[in-house]
């Protein structure tokens, strides 16, 4: 009933919603990224060498055509065609915009990168997104530092970087030395999602420790409700997010940073083992059949009141908006604390800027590509995005005058509760796809009881060591 190919593609968008870390400490990365080497800073290949000015900081040629490729997934591409592109056109009425809304970003664009005929802006998202690390390694992406240093459209006295949620720029760092190559546009919070009304009716509150989680699980089971479930067939990464978040809460963000940096024995860290063991216990309450279901099937069950807690990100509410029954109110809860000695409090959540946009360095109108991103980061464009997609953007204050849904309201509350306690996003997911594939596999094996937490850690460590030893994979690193 819910297994049409269309819905498989609907999920593809979610895949990359969360791309990279929203690090709570903003300044450090920025300073280093100002010192860009000359060959990547200026889009030198562009024939569009118009004079720069306050309103045209990159010197876009007024009549240069612009080609934009948008991932047409859960956010669709209306926000681009009905808001962002018209806003760009308002600045440059003589420019023609070629728009393409597609799902298979990698398959469509890889040949174009190979031949040098690339678009000017790419929304690199979906299951079939381009390997950004490989593109950076091949010099195919433009360093976005000039964008973040340029004056903001809303207030030319401010730089673009000062209008964004802290951590946005760092989340798009890549390459070695790291520079911002990706603009992550959507602000996403990750945690356990539940129906506030269902919990209210049963007098439940979201569990704050794993001890409480077990008590809660028994209570839910008594009501014939599955306490926690995820879709093993195509969304096992929802579950590994929870394990990684728990590991960070136990041992601090450095656990995840070490994993990203392929540090020796990063996966064998006690925090990883404890987190895996805690979640495997919860996995026991799940029916085996969930390993063979896809995310929409499981989400439908939650909408039907059969599942209490579901691991996901803040796109869930808008993704399910058509299927959510009346009286169902999405709310987010942080992952429970594992030990009393956790480094981060229960309130800590993972929040990240996701949904990447890149400017290919060899595009015909690369300066136009930068300008398009600057337009996206203006308040009117960000507000239109939130209106069309029911998702928050990284632009500060862009929701003024908008009424937020219950789910987004709870996200804002969770964020305020977390304060500076933000769990970082794992960059290895996009840096090292082999490792990520292995993690999906082992997460299912762990959560459905085929391996122990120790085996999980040692298998992942072996995969990380293999990635580290593979000279054909270009390595990246992060400090925060």
């Amino acid at each position: 009933m819910t297994s049409t190919p269309r819905e498989i593609t609907r999920r593809q968008m979610i895949r990359r919603v969360g791309l990279t870390a929203l690090v709570a400490v903003p300044a450090a990365g920025l300073l280093s990224s100002c010192a860009t080497s000359g060959d990547t800073a200026a889009p030198s290949t562009a024939p569009s060498a118009a004079a720069t000015s306050a309103t045209n900081p990159f010197g876009v040629k007024a009549d240069a055509p612009l080609e934009v490729v948008i991932f047409k997934g859960g956010y669709s591409d209306e926000y681009a065609t009905q808001s962002h592109e018209p806003l760009y056109k308002a600045e440059f009425p003589k420019a023609t915009i070629k728009h393409q809304g597609i799902q298979t970003i990698s398959q469509t664009l890889t040949p174009r990168f190979a031949s040098g005929d690339v678009p000017d802006v790419v929304n690199n998202s979906g299951t079939d997104n381009l390997d950004a690390g490989a593109l950076i390694g091949a010099g195919q992406l433009l360093d976005l530092t000039p964008l973040f240093e340029a004056p903001s459209i809303d207030d030319p006295s401010k730089k673009v970087k000062d209008t964004l949620v802290p951590g946005t720029i760092e989340s798009g760092l890549g390459g070695d030395p790291a520079k911002p190559y990706t603009l992550n546009y959507v602000y996403t919070a990750y945690g356990l999602w539940y129906d506030a009304k269902l919990f209210e009716k049963n007098g439940w509150t979201a569990p704050k420790t794993f001890e409480e989680f077990k008590t809660f699980a028994e209570a839910a089971k008594a009501k014939n409700i599955v306490p926690f479930a995820y879709a093993g067939k195509n969304a096992s990464y929802y579950a590994y997010w929870m394990i990684l978040i728990s590991a960070a809460k136990i041992g601090g963000n450095e656990v995840l940073v070490n994993i990203d940096n392929l540090a020796d024995n990063a996966w064998n860290h006690d925090a990883v083992k404890q987190a895996a063991a805690a979640w495997a216990e919860i996995g026991k309450y799940m029916d085996k059949s969930y390993e063979g279901l896809i995310h929409t099937e499981v989400q439908t069950q939650q909408n039907q009141g059969k599942i209490a807690l579901y691991p996901s990100g803040s796109w869930l509410e808008s993704e399910q908006s058509k299927d959510t029954p009346a009286g169902f109110e999405y709310a987010i809860a942080p992952t429970p604390s594992v030990t009393a000695a956790d480094q981060m409090p229960y309130e800590a959540i993972r929040a990240a800027a996701g949904e990447g946009y890149v400017v290919p360095s060899k595009g015909k109108n690369a300066t136009g590509g930068l300008e398009y991103l600057r337009v996206m980061l203006s308040k009117p464009a960000a507000k239109a995005f939130t209106e069309k997609t029911k998702s928050l953007t990284v632009v500060v204050g862009a929701t003024e005058g908008l009424t937020l849904s219950p789910g987004l309201t709870s996200v804002v509350a969770a964020q305020n509760g977390a304060g500076q306690n933000v769990v970082t996003y794992s960059l290895f997911e996009t840096w090292y796809k082999e490792l990520e594939t292995e993690l999906r596999k082992q997460t299912n094996a762990l959560m459905f009881g085929r391996i122990s937490a120790d085996e999980f850690a040692s298998k992942m460590q072996a995969a990380a060591d293999k990635t580290k030893a593979d000279s054909s994979i270009s390595k990246q690193s992060r400090s925060v």
Partner: protein, 311 residues
Amino acid sequence: MRHGKLSPVLLRKYGFIASFLAVPLILYVVFVIWQYIQAFQISFTNSRGISPNFDYVGFDNFTRLFDDEVFWAAVRHHVVLLLAMPLITVAIALFFSFMLNLGGGQKNGKMTGVPGSAFYKIVFFFPQVLAVAIVGVLFQAILRPDKSGVINSALHAVGVDPVGWLISPGLALWTIIGVMVWQAVGFYVVLFSAGMSSIPRDVFEAAALDGAGRFVLFFRITLPLLWDTLQVGWVYLGIAAFDGFALVQVLSVDRGGPDNATTVLPLEIWRTAFTYSKYGVASAMGVALFFMTLTFAVLTLRVTRRERIEF
């Protein structure tokens, strides 16, 4: 007419033939052969598919495959597929086509199929008409692991617990084989039926007069006279056993899971190229697959070669 020179008549004749052959030949070379050659070339490079610049790395990509447990899991699955899938398909197809053509015994001195066989022939062919992707989506619903699955809800009705067709590591590959067989049988029923109908009826009638039952008719008469068709079917099915991409991609847990239990080479090639951006390694897998398929086809044709029975 002198020898050694083409007369205008001959020239026109060959020119005519060549003009017809040229277009398909060029298309085939450009769109098929050339890709094979390129795959061989890329398999010796470290190409990541996103830049025209790459280096030649010798046999690195191939030695890498030797340590790749996922690659070997896929190869093992092809061995299982190769042994099981054609055998099961051919056995079922032979049984059905025998029943449809000859299983009804003699009527008015002629061999006939079971009642309604004309209708069954069409029904059996239905799955062949469906695109693989549609078959995959259909079976997603049929094999769904909880009580809403078509099979599992039937089992539930008689009090059997749901079976994890695609989620038990030991069962998943066999479930995929089952779907492949379901899809393939119809075509081979038609193929073998055609083969059987070209066997002269009097051979059967003579045997039947001598007192041969259905069993003897099948093994002593039908099977030997159908050998050529069977051989062709076997090669087709064997090559299909080296594919399986679409069904595994749609049906299996996390594309090839659980725990690599269903992965196949075309899927790993796809993943290595498009997810890992390792076009060199992916091409090396492709080259390995090419030789496996080729070896299989040559071996099958060699081993099963028999003297042809003229009739």
